[in-house]
């Protein structure tokens, strides 16, 4: 695959690893958080941690949209699917995410509710066009990467004058989550992780650009390097972070310049700001209520807003008390620190959301990393 294979070359990877080893000072620790679940997945899949010197450590962050969706929103989705007139369209990743009392969308589907898995946002519109007698609801989740495609879908439904289509909006914002990790209010309960720099999200940044991360550098004095998702992208970004730390710099740098600009995609940003607005707060699994971190549909689009249309209410529920997802999403703990990891919590029977998506820290470690711990 062009623009992917070239960034997987083994010799270059070894060269980069050697440079990181040579430039990282043995005198100190380098703890870098990869915010994005796609990066967590790449680190595990290509065993990148094995290539790094022991004092350069990766801390997994909360950037997996499936992992941070709280049980309460899953329950709201299940309730919606329980309505006889509703067809609920969801991304496949969401199906096994645990809600309250071991419920999940998958269980609801087995019970006979009309839940469809989709791979493209446009599928939801197609389903609504074909089933005019059904109320088709799209369960929209994701970071800034996934919000513009939801906007495209809404525009299409508007153009086609679909009266039976709505969106259950659960879109969240990356910079607010980073802010919460650096200075969130409930740090006293979970603890704070020491971080020396961030590998910034690549695909989110194709949309929002690099500019929204400036505060991480300016206010918190932490370097950020926006990176692509191939192994060479990640290693190069880590080298760039090591250099910033060594030189006492804290800037926002862009390793992923083939896809990311400082301004981002202005057309996509405009679509999003035309249709969505900030919620005062939104609950994140693991981070709790984060101010101004989620989006909802503007009043002008209320006819497409499932929460308005079906008078949906959110009831907060506690997560499984044995699950350490909260601390793991903050980078304070690792999957193996959880007693349930690999015992009763496995990808087939997830107890927490980090075990569901391939981008979740627990699932990534289960699939690619667990054998290495024993060496």
């Amino acid at each position: 695959m062009k623009y992917a294979d070239e960034f997987r070359d083994k010799t270059i990877a070894q060269g980069l690893a050697r440079a990181i080893g040579a430039e990282a000072s043995p005198q100190r620790l380098y703890r870098f958080m990869e915010f994005c679940g796609g990066h967590t997945h790449a680190i595990s899949r290509y065993a990148l941690e094995d290539m790094l010197p022991v004092n350069v450590r990766m801390v997994h962050g909360p950037g997996c949209p499936v992992c941070v969706l709280p049980a309460s929103r899953i329950d709201m989705g299940i309730k919606l699917a329980d309505r006889p007139e509703v067809t609920l369209c969801v991304y496949g990743d969401l199906m096994r995410v645990p809600g309250a009392q071991g419920q999940s969308l998958l269980r609801a589907k087995t019970r006979g509710t009309d839940i469809r898995m989709i791979y493209s946002t446009l599928d939801a519109v197609r389903i609504a066009e074909q089933a005019k007698d059904r109320e088709v609801v799209f369960f929209a989740i994701g970071f800034e990467t996934t919000t513009p495609p939801t906007a495209v879908t809404l525009r299409l439904a508007e153009k086609k004058q679909l009266k039976n289509f709505s969106v259950f909006c659960n879109h969240v914002l990356t910079p607010s989550a980073i802010l919460s990790i650096l200075g969130g209010a409930d740090i006293r309960n979970i603890g704070r992780v020491e971080i020396d720099g961030f590998v910034g999200p690549g695909h989110v940044s194709t949309i929002i650009g690099t500019e929204p991360y400036d505060f991480v550098a300016e206010e918190f004095g932490k370097p950020v390097v926006i990176a692509g998702f191939e192994p060479l992208d990640m290693l190069q970004a880590i080298l760039m972070l090591v250099r910033q730390v060594n030189e006492g710099r804290y800037e926002v740098e862009n390793q992923y310049s083939r896809a990311v600009t400082r301004e981002g995609n202005s057309r996509a940003k405009k679509e999003v700001s035309d249709i969505f607005e900030l919620r005062d707060q939104f609950e994140w699994r693991g981070l709790g209520l984060v101010p101004y971190s989620g989006l909802k549909l503007k009043l002008a689009y209320a006819q497409f807003d499932a929460e308005v249309r079906f008078a949906m209410h959110e009831v907060r529920v506690a997560d499984n008390p044995g699950c350490e997802c909260g601390a793991i999403l903050r980078g304070v703990k690792k999957p193996v620190d959880c007693k349930l990891f690999g015992t009763i919590c496995r990808p087939e029977t997830p107890m927490g959301s980090c075990m569901v998506s391939a981008e979740g820290a627990c699932a990534a470690h289960w699939t690619y990393g667990r054998f290495r711990d024993h060496h």
């Binding site: 695959m1 062009k2 623009y3 992917a4 070239e6 960034f7 070359d9 010799t11 270059i12 070894q14 060269g15 980069l16 050697r18 440079a19 994005c36 679940g37 796609g38 950037g63 997996c64 949209p65 499936v66 991304y91 990743d93 791979y119 493209s120 946002t121 446009l122 599928d123 989740i141 994701g142 970071f143 990467t145 996934t146 513009p148 495609p149 495209v152 525009r155 299409l156 999200p201 695909h203 989110v204 194709t206 949309i207 060479l232 190069q236 390793q255 310049s257 083939r258 896809a259 990311v260 995609n265 057309r267 996509a268 679509e271 998506s357 981008e359």
Partner: protein, 78 residues
């Protein structure tokens, strides 16, 4: 979930749609979010939409820098 993959635009369709090829596999996607796409451009696609165009000049620049690490490494290997 946030996965995006590079794909080549092979045909522009009406209504902001296009056909792309991912290693020979054809797919119909929306190009409503990216301005002025042409056949032969590479885009990153995500949940059925093109997110952005991949800039070939920037990709080349990054690869040139990376190749230096490769040749240095080969120089060190016996």
């Amino acid at each position: 979930m946030c996965l995006s993959i590079p794909a080549e635009v092979t045909k522009i369709l009406p209504d902001d749609m296009a056909v792309v090829s991912i290693d020979g596999v054809k797919k119909e996607i929306s190009i409503a979010l990216v301005e002025d796409l042409a056949v032969g451009d590479y885009v990153l696609i995500h949940v059925g939409c093109a997110l952005t165009r991949i800039d070939p000049a920037e990709a080349k620049r990054t690869l040139e820098l990376l190749h230096e690490f490769g040749s240095r490494e080969r120089g060190l290997q016996p």
